[in-house]
Symmetry: C2
Subunit: 197 residues, 2 copies
Amino acid sequence: MAPTPETLTAERILEATEEVLRRHGPAKATVVDVARALGVSHGSVYRHFRTKAALREAVIKRWLDRTTDELAVIVEDGTRDPETRLRDWLAALFEAKRRKAGDDPELFATYMVLAGENGTVVAGHVEELTGQLERIVEAGVSAGVFGGVAPAEAARVLFQATGRFHDPCYAGEWTLPSADGDFRAAVEFLLRALRVR
Amino acid sequence: MAPTPETLTAERILEATEEVLRRHGPAKATVVDVARALGVSHGSVYRHFRTKAALREAVIKRWLDRTTDELAVIVEDGTRDPETRLRDWLAALFEAKRRKAGDDPELFATYMVLAGENGTVVAGHVEELTGQLERIVEAGVSAGVFGGVAPAEAARVLFQATGRFHDPCYAGEWTLPSADGDFRAAVEFLLRALRVR
């Protein structure tokens, strides 16, 4: 028996949408497709997401938020010194993106289409990540190990300067044998700029 | 009267090829199209470029070499101190790419298709540019103003960390009001990492 509309949560709908996207690509995942996959009426789905655009926006936001939530743990971790937090944060971001791109390239490509359609969501994601970096830089300034730069500006530079290791347009380079060495060299170089003299 | 085959140089063929690409897009620019544009037989063109692939490779190489040659002047300019040379070099690269993308977006898109077909030529271009950066860093180390990093590694980091300001995948961001401020902040941040302490 199909699940009743009462059991429907936004989260279940988003899971089903991801599954529809995985199977059929970015052209699909209309509200009707998703309702069919869940065995419910499209009216039930519309109660949670009023349009196809709203559904697609929610699904890309959920996908991006998974990374943000994972990284927030590092920002909060007072047991690691700020330099370690920065290294670990950048490594975790690179690893998360590389995993997403490598484990399921078709779904990754689909999410890239959705990202292209939802510039505001992506801009919000970048802002959140930059905000996390800013807090790590601030922690370093408070601890007296980083200095000479405004944390907000440093965070923006750090995010942009490491684009090669998280921006999907470089996904093709992430599996090169040189990728990990390039990443480590970039992080050590950027840390030199941050350290107090 | 059409020019005789004797007047044909590789350079004239490449100019005509660029013009054919500009008018008809990347699917065009076969040897026959170019020969017709020049009013010569395709045999005359084949004497210089034995295949369509060789012609397309030469035309993208010529396009990339224009930037390399422009930047080489800065590397050689002993009247500028190494820090100024590095600032000017990165600014000139950003400006050259932004100009190419902005002045003729369709030709730029065409060249991106050619770049995708000619990975080896693009890799050689990146190697030449990184080599130029390495010479500037070496000059700074010799002058005692840069230190603490191996010039070859620093050059590679500098090139990759400034990808946002020269990699065509960011062409859409180059006209944002924030682009120049982001560029200056990145360059000043990277210079901090290079300076001797």
